[in-house]
Every structure is written in structure tokens, then in C-alpha cells.
């Protein structure tokens, strides 16, 4: 069973930290782009799907009829499993009650809302287009429209943030009864306005120790309120974990449509061209993608560094089933070292990150690269 990811690279405005492929000045190309997506779908026509994810960019920055046309096309062209998880990402400024109702009627059953913070100065710092009030209204509208399965993003590690301000945002999200919260720390990417500001010394950064203290408080609070910390940056109430994103960690196949989208399909990884026009031309000309065949070594590395992102850890039996030999046969030394450093814990069949291992997970992952 496949996942489907559709990239919609349109935004009202680029946020200062964002290095995803997305444009604020290309809305005129949106109709052609949607047609190109529908055209690209034909390549995979008839594939079975159990998750669909409309990501971006901001899918809901598109006119409703365009997005609905695209959703219909997915149902027409793929065999979408009953009760499949169908997510649309949205930005609080772009969608309201009627938009949400229409999405719901079209078959969407999960929303991921880019709240990021419920503090106006933090939102302004990030260059978000919405206010805290917009975000809360958006969540309430989504609920009113009948959505229960909602994710909200919460960002921490902003230079101007305090522990109190982050926890205040978090408390509001919890009291709004959002069942899935994605918490992640701000990463300064080179090719972003923040990247430039950092190079020029103009960006206020948060020190590592404060950032980790905040992270621990967030984590503690979420767990206390009944959320499961199921992946490094994701928390969910029982039954609400993101099936689509889980496919990434579990190395399940997924089809990516649209500019800059990635696919893991028939054991190959490949990517579409980045720009909107390039993508449209690519589809029109039936362009070829460079496909990377995942070697056994790559697969083993991926199994480890993706699988360990899940806090339930990896199963040695599953490893053996997949690769035909024991995990300990190739990684005994690494496992010994990492458990000695209290970064990994081994419990029968399961190998997983410790709380300390989560903090420095990259250090753990690089040991498993072959």
C-alpha cells in the first residue's frame, strides 16, 4: 500500500526561516500546475493508497475550486482505501469555515495547521502572515467543520522566546484539544533570510542549553497531558499518530507528485524538478527522472536512522526479516558504545533512543551510516 504526497508550492508570503520549495508570486500558474499534477498522476494510475498528504507551501492558499479539483482527481485516478488518512496542510490566514467544510466533503479527514506559536511577537519574528488570534480561530473553524484529527505545529528555539512564552502557546494548543502536536526546533538554513541574518550576526539565537530546557518542559507537559511522544518531533493522543509521516520512518513506499516532491517507489528514490515552470515543462515533455536505486547498504542505514526516529524503536526481528542477517552482526560495536553512552537502550527485540539519545540523535544516526 502506497502513500501519496502532493506538493503545492504556493504561499501568501515566504516565512523568514523557510527553505522549502514554495513561491509567493506564482499564483497565476496555479491552474496549469494543477493540470500538470493531474497529468503526472496518470503515471501511477490505479495504485492503491492508504495515505494522501497535500503539503506545501500552503495548499489552502489556492482557490478552493482548484484544490477540490485536485482532490477529486486523486480519488478518480488512484484506488484510495476506505478510511485512508487524507491530510491537507493549511495556514491560519488562508482557510476558514466554508473552505474546511468543502475539504471535509471532498473526503479530507485530517488537517495540519501551521500555527507555529500563539504569541504575536514570535509570529512576527518568524515572518508569519497570521496572528495568534487567526490561528485559534482557524483551529475552531476546523473543528466546527467537523475535523477531529488535527495537527498543530509548535516551533521552539527562537532567540526571542522564553520558556514561559513557549509553554503558554503549548497550553493553549492542549486546551484546544488538538490531538497531534508537532514540536520542532528552529533550524537556521543557509539559503533563507534567517540564514543571511545569522551570517551577518543580526539574528538573535537561542543557546543550546536553554533550547534543551525548553524542549524538556514541552515534552514533559505533553506527556502529562496524555500525548505519546512517538517520533523525535511528534506527539499524539492514542489513535492519532500521522500514518503518512510514519511511512517515511518505516520506509514504506510513497509517491510524490509536483515540483520538488520525493518518491520512494519500487525501491527507488527520486525527485521531481524544483521550479514550478520546470515541473510543468517536465510533465509536458514527459521528462525522465534520475532514479537512485537503494542499495542494501543504503537500505540498512536508512532502516536505522529513520527507524530510530520512532520512539518505539526498531525491531531486530524486523531487521533480520528484511535483510536476512542479525542487526548485532554488523552493529555490535556501535550498539555497545552507544548504550554505554546512554544514548541507546536495548530491550529484548527492541533497540531505541533514550531521552538523551533523542537530544543528540544525529550523533547516534551517523554511527549507523555504512
Amino acid at each position: 500500500m502506497n502513500g501519496l504526497y502532493i506538493h503545492l508550492p504556493f504561499c501568501l508570503k515566504k516565512c523568514l526561516y523557510c527553505d522549502f520549495v514554495s513561491f509567493s508570486d506564482c499564483f497565476s500558474k496555479a491552474p496549469v500546475y494543477i493540470d500538470a499534477l493531474i497529468c503526472e498522476m496518470q503515471e501511477y494510475r490505479g495504485e492503491k493508497l492508504d495515505t494522501v498528504y497535500f503539503g506545501g507551501g500552503t495548499p489552502t492558499s489556492l482557490p478552493e475550486e482548484l484544490l477540490l479539483k485536485l482532490i477529486c482527481a486523486v480519488f478518480e485516478n488512484f484506488e484510495v482505501k476506505k478510511n485512508a488518512e487524507i491530510t491537507v496542510e493549511c495556514n491560519p490566514k488562508t482557510a476558514g469555515l466554508s473552505y474546511f467544510k468543502n475539504l471535509k466533503n471532498a473526503g479530507v479527514n485530517r488537517l495540519s495547521i501551521g500555527t507555529q506559536s500563539l504569541n504575536d511577537s514570535e509570529l512576527a519574528f518568524l515572518g508569519r502572515v497570521h496572528s495568534a488570534e487567526d490561528a485559534k480561530k482557524c483551529i475552531l473553524d476546523a473543528k466546527k467543520a467537523g475535523f477531529e484529527n488535527i495537527n498543530a505545529d509548535l516551533m521552539f528555539g527562537l532567540g526571542i522566546q522564553t520558556k514561559e512564552s513557549v509553554l503558554a502557546s503549548l497550553d493553549e494548543l492542549i486546551s484546544l484539544k488538538i490531538p497531534h502536536i508537532s514540536c520542532y526546533s528552529l533550524i537556521i538554513e543557509e539559503n533563507t533570510p534567517f540564514g543571511k541574518m545569522e551570517r551577518e550576526g543580526k539574528l538573535k539565537l537561542m543557546d543550546e542549553d536553554t533550547e534543551r530546557d525548553i524542549y524538556l518542559s514541552i515534552s514533559k507537559s505533553l506527556i502529562k497531558n496524555g500525548y505519546n511522544h512517538y517520533e523525535i518531533s511528534n506527539y499524539a493522543k492514542d489513535g492519532y499518530l500521522s500514518c503518512h509521516n510514519t511511512k517515511y520512518w518505516k520506509r514504506a513506499p510513497y509517491i510524490g507528485l509536483g515540483a520538488a516532491s520525493h518518491s520512494f517507489y519500487q525501491n527507488k528514490r527520486f525527485q521531481n524538478p524544483d521550479g514550478i515552470c520546470e515541473y510543468i515543462d517536465f510533465v509536458k515533455n514527459k521528462g525522465r527522472r534520475t532514479k537512485e536505486i537503494v542499495s542494501q547498504d543504503d537500505a540498512i542505514s536508512e532502516f536505522m536512522f529513520l527507524g530510530l526516529r520512532m520512539l518505539s524503536g526498531i525491531s531486530k526481528n524486523e531487521f533480520k526479516k528484511e535483510f536476512g542477517f542479525c542487526l548485532n552482526d554488523i552493529f555490535q560495536k556501535e550498539i555497545n558504545e552507544l548504550t554505554a553512552l546512554n544514548l541507546l537502550e536495548e530491550n529484548g527485540d527492541i533497540l531505541r533512543l533514550t531521552p538523551r539519545g533523542i537530544d543528540v540523535s544525529n550523533e547516534v544516526f551517523i554511527r549507523f551510516l555504512i
Partner: protein, 601 residues
């Protein structure tokens, strides 16, 4: 062959930047040998590095033909001298090949420390000094005051000194005429057994070693069998000739008073030591010329390839450099922290920097170098006396009876307003004050004895920064004195890092240890566990810093299924670790080893 009375052998001495190379270029131009088209700036300095740094590293010589106002043609042999204290011995041998010296003084700057040092060296060699005031075109030029300075400080008449601008070609004729009239013609006996002074040599891939020499007595012909009196080596001369700016000019023979080159299929510059005397095997001179000295390195450091796999490349590069630089010495050494490398000896700090730069630039090597060290003399309790050039080799404290360190006589010339700053600096560097002489109302010269190990770190930078760049500095080794020295070790997570050990005066150990610990703390990245950085003398910890354990290293959101990018990021991180040096359990970046070399803020 020119008549001896029409030969003038001279050199130019000057403080750095006073215009030595520029004047040399003008002399070459005026004598008509270099055309405008062929002219490169600063012809005599032919290494790229020399041109960039504006210093002359190795002596070169050139033969000019000048038709003087008296209607006669003169051969002017200009022997270039290195302008830096590290190459003092080579300077002295170049001077010994001359009868006179042009003393260039900058009309704005006046006399500086190196001017004086080189002047005294020239006077020691009985050279006729011919002062020239350069840069008279500068708005700040004060030629009359500088003339007075020369007369007062050096004590030679200077009222007739040509006032020139080498840059603008003003007064060059006058300099040429003065060379003819003021500098004596060489003496020497053509009939006597051959004595020729080697003042430079270098290795040429086609001809073998090319010796630059001055014939003092006798004659030297192609086909002669020569003997180098100090090394005792004998060779058959393949070629002799003169050194034109455009290249070699073959000749049949060279006689007393002349300057030229020879080749003799010599494979190794180690055989052709600067200062050695060339004589003939068949009719040898009784004694060699005076003044030969075996030059010994004063400063040592460990040089390691940043990438251990480049060890062989480094070895080859050093061997190639040594072909042309008999004063560079090196031998293999191993460091627990840095792996395989070489302990290299240099004449001084500048020489060390030049070699490091040439290795990096000309041989494309990334290097890690250890802190420079001088040679300490250790007398052990059993009476044995050993030289220590690598701190790692220092015996245990209990085996040491006493230690000695090298001391230099330092002359520092400085505007009077900065005298206080300099005295403070010298005192801080354990200097012993001798006296101070005033050059004029605005400048003074300070005389100190300073331990060499106090000036090899960053003394020159400190000097410049405390005098807005106005101080000039010159030193020469004066001997060894007993000193309370200790070996300072650096421990990372309890493991000693041999490459960071050094020998230091007891009174400095605490401050230096603390500074190094601080520097290392800045340059060692946080790791999975807390890393204590300790500075220790013997078993006693004198400074401690801590690199806190890494708190966070996490790729937060893994979004949109771009696994390839995540993997690349992780791989990059893994690669970065490979470039670090593993010291015990600690990963130390190359920069950390370099960061401790500059401790002055």
C-alpha cells in the same frame, strides 16, 4: 675579463620597505640591460613569496655594465642580501663578498633597527658605506634631518648622499657615479692559489647545484677540479660565468675580484655551504677564508600533514625545499595526537613561516604545526647534557639537574611615546634591560636581553600592536643561561596531548596554561560527554576548563519524504568527524592545534 680597477662589488642594505629592491631595479634599468618590456617589479626577488612579502629571502647577485662619466666602462656586481634577522649569517657572507655597501635610508622614516644592525655588520666587514636618501618625493620626507641622523648615529659623513626617489627614477645616475667613485675596486692576487667565497647556492633541476661566488685570489676556469675546503668535497667545473639579469653568461675563467657562478654536477646543496672557500685541488690555498660558520637552526616545530595519507607528499616536499635551503633541517617524528610528521628546524620564525607557507602553497599541503620551540640544554643529575628541541623528549623532573635556555640580544627601535609600552612588554617577556639610547628627539633604541622562547610566540605581533606598527626589532643569539623551566602538558579528558606540550619558564606556566585551556575550550566542539581540559606541570594541575557535553544535535522535522537530503546531511557530519584528530576519546579539530599558537589578544 675586466680589469680589476674597473670592478665594483657592492650590496645594498636597508630596513624592510625602505626601497632596496626598487633601487636595485632602477640600477638594472639605467645600465640598460633590462628593457621596460621584460621588467618585472623587483627583479632580484625571484620567488613569488618574496615578492608578496616584500622581503628578500635568499641572496642573489647580478652583474651590471655601466659607462661612467669618466668615459670608462665599469662592471658593477650587485650582491643582494636577505633583509631579515633570521638570515644574518647569509647576510654576513654576502657582505664579505663586497667592498662597499649602499645604505638606503627612507627620507620619511629615518634610521630603523634593521638599518643599524646591517650597518654594523657592514662596518664589521670593513665595507665602504655609501648612504643614499630614498623616497624624497614623499610629502613627509625630511632628507636633511635624516642626513643628520646618519651622521650622528652611524658617524659617517652623509652630506653628499644622493637624494633619490627609486620609485620615480630620480637621482639614479648620481648613485651609479658614486658607486664608481666611492666604492673601492677589489684587491686580490690573480697569481695566488684560488680562494673564492661561496655566498649563495641553489639547486637547479638541469644543472645541479649552482654556486654563486666571489673570487678573492687566483683564477677559476672551466674544467678545473675544485675543492670545497670545509666540506672537503671535490668537483670538476662544468661551467663558469657571470650573472646577468637576463640569465647566465658563460665565460672561460673568472679572476680575483670577479663575481659569478659555477656548475659542477653537484647534487646536493648540503655540499656547498654558504661561507665555504673554493680552491683548486692541484694548487690549493693554505687556509680557507675567514668567517665560515655552520648555521644551526634556532627554532623547531613539528609539521604534520592534516591528512595522514599525505605523509609521503610532505616528506618529498621537504626534501625538495631542502635542495635549495641548506639551513632547513628535518627528521621524522611521531605524535600520538597527530600521527606521522617531521620535526623541522629553522633559522628563525620568519624562516619557519616561509617554509610552512611554501609547503602549503607550492606543494598544496594542509598542515598542522605544533608550537615552535627553541633548543634547551638539559643537564641531567647523572651529568649527561642533552639538547631538547621537542618538548616531548624532556626528561622527567627528577632526572634534571638544571636547564638552560637561549638568550638573544635584542635592539628595539621605537618612537619615544611608546617606550613605556615596550618596556612593559619586554619585562613581561622576562627581558633584562641594558640601556636606552636616543636616536633623536622622537626615537629611542632599547637594548634588552630576551629569552628566545619569549619572542618565538607572538612577540613581533605584540610589538607592532603596542606601537601602532612603528617599532622595529632586531636580535641575535648571545648564548645560553640557566633558567627555571618546566614542561607544560595539556590533558584532554585525562589523556595527555603530546603535540600540545611545550617548555615554558616556571613564572609563565600558570598564565600560559590557563590561556591555552581557554583557547582550546573555544575551539573544541561539544561532544557526547563532558571534556575536562587541564594544563599540568608534572603531576600538578595548574588550569582547568570544561567543554560541556553536547546537549543537542537533532534534525528536527523530517518532512516531505526527502530522505536523500537527510542522509547527505548525516554523511557530511560523519565526514567532518573524520577530519578531526582522535585524542583518546576526544575529537579535536585541526584548528585547535593551531589556535594555541597565537595567544596574545
Amino acid at each position: 675579463m675586466a680589469d680589476k680597477k674597473n670592478i665594483r662589488n657592492f650590496c645594498i642594505i636597508a630596513h624592510i620597505d625602505h626601497g632596496k629592491s626598487t633601487l636595485a631595479d632602477r640600477l638594472l634599468e639605467k645600465t640598460g640591460i633590462v628593457s621596460e618590456r621584460d621588467k618585472q617589479d623587483q627583479l632580484l626577488d625571484d620567488m613569488e613569496l618574496e615578492r608578496e612579502r616584500g622581503i628578500t629571502i635568499k641572496a642573489r647577485a647580478v652583474r651590471l655594465v655601466y659607462k661612467a662619466n669618466d668615459g670608462e666602462e665599469y662592471i658593477l656586481n650587485l650582491i643582494d642580501t636577505p633583509g631579515h634577522v633570521d638570515f644574518n649569517y647569509e647576510v654576513s657572507r654576502s657582505l664579505a663578498a663586497c667592498e662597499g655597501a649602499i645604505l638606503i635610508v627612507d627620507a620619511a622614516q629615518g634610521i630603523e633597527a634593521q638599518t643599524l644592525a646591517n650597518t654594523y655588520l657592514a662596518i664589521d666587514h670593513d665595507l665602504e658605506l655609501m648612504p643614499v636618501i630614498n623616497k624624497i618625493d614623499l610629502p613627509s620626507a625630511r632628507p636633511e634631518a635624516v642626513i643628520e641622523e646618519i651622521e650622528n648615529i652611524i658617524g659617517i659623513p652623509a652630506e653628499d648622499a644622493p637624494k633619490i626617489s627609486a620609485k620615480n627614477g630620480i637621482g639614479i645616475e648620481e648613485v651609479l657615479e658614486k658607486i664608481v667613485t666611492d666604492i673601492p675596486a677589489p684587491k686580490g692576487d690573480e697569481k695566488a692559489p684560488l680562494k673564492a667565497l661561496i655566498f649563495d647556492s641553489y639547486y637547479d633541476a638541469y644543472k645541479g647545484v649552482i654556486i654563486y661566488f666571489r673570487v678573492v685570489d687566483g683564477e677559476l676556469k672551466t674544467g678545473d677540479t675544485i675543492r670545497l675546503m670545509m666540506t672537503g668535497k671535490e668537483f670538476e667545473v662544468v661551467e663558469v660565468g657571470y650573472l646577468q639579469p637576463t640569465g647566465f653568461l658563460k665565460a672561460n675563467k673568472l679572476s680575483a675580484g670577479e663575481v659569478g657562478y659555477l656548475t659542477a654536477s653537484i647534487k646536493n646543496v648540503q655540499d656547498t655551504r654558504v661561507g665555504d672557500t673554493i680552491t683548486l685541488k692541484d694548487n690549493p690555498a693554505k687556509e680557507p677564508l675567514k668567517g665560515y660558520k655552520q648555521v644551526n637552526p634556532m627554532v623547531y616545530c613539528g609539521i604534520y600533514p592534516a591528512d595522514g595519507a599525505k605523509y609521503e607528499d610532505l616528506r618529498e616536499a621537504l626534501a625538495k625545499l631542502q635542495l635549495n635551503d641548506a639551513s632547513l633541517v628535518y627528521e621524522p617524528e611521531t605524535s600520538i595526537a597527530l600521527g606521522f610528521g617531521f620535526r623541522c628546524g629553522f633559522l628563525g620564525l620568519l624562516h619557519m613561516e616561509i617554509i610552512q607557507e611554501r609547503l602549503e602553497r607550492e606543494y598544496n599541503l594542509d598542515l598542522v604545526t605544533t608550537a615552535p620551540s627553541v633548543i634547551y640544554k638539559v643537564t641531567k643529575t647523572n651529568g649527561e647534557c642533552i639538547d631538547i628541541a621537542n618538548p616531548t623528549n624532556m626528561p622527567d623532573g627528577s632526572e634534571i639537574s638544571y636547564m638552560e635556555e637561549p638568550i638573544v640580544k635584542a635592539d628595539i627601535m621605537v618612537p619615544t611615546e611608546f617606550v613605556g609600552n615596550i618596556m612593559e612588554l619586554c619585562q613581561d617577556r622576562r627581558g633584562i634591560y641594558h640601556n636606552m639610547t636616543y636616536i633623536d628627539d622622537t626615537r629611542a633604541q632599547l637594548h634588552y636581553d630576551l629569552p628566545l622562547n619569549e619572542i618565538i610566540y607572538d612577540f613581533f605581533d605584540a610589538l607592532k600592536s603596542r606601537t601602532k606598527g612603528y617599532a622595529s626589532f632586531d636580535y641575535e643569539l648571545s648564548g645560553y643561561v640557566k633558567s627555571d623551566l618546566v614542561k607544560l602538558d595539556i590533558l584532554l579528558n585525562g589523556d595527555m596531548v603530546d603535540a600540545l606540550s611545550f617548555i615554558v619558564h616556571e613564572s609563565k606556566a600558570y598564565a600560559r596554561g590557563r590561556r591555552i585551556a581557554e583557547k582550546l575550550k573555544e575551539s573544541i566542539p561539544r561532544q557526547l560527554f563532558e571534556i575536562p581540559i587541564q594544563a599540568a606541570v608534572g603531576n600538578k594541575i595548574i588550569a582547568r576548563e570544561t567543554v560541556k557535553a553536547l546537549r543537542k544535535d537533532v534534525l528536527a522535522k523530517c518532512y516531505g519524504g526527502d530522505i536523500t537530503r537527510k542522509k547527505k546531511l548525516l554523511e557530511k557530519q560523519k565526514e567532518g568527524k573524520k577530519r578531526m584528530r582522535q585524542v583518546g576519546s576526544v575529537e579535536v579539530p585541526q584548528e585547535a592545534f593551531m589556535s594555541v599558537l597565537k595567544l596574545d589578544e
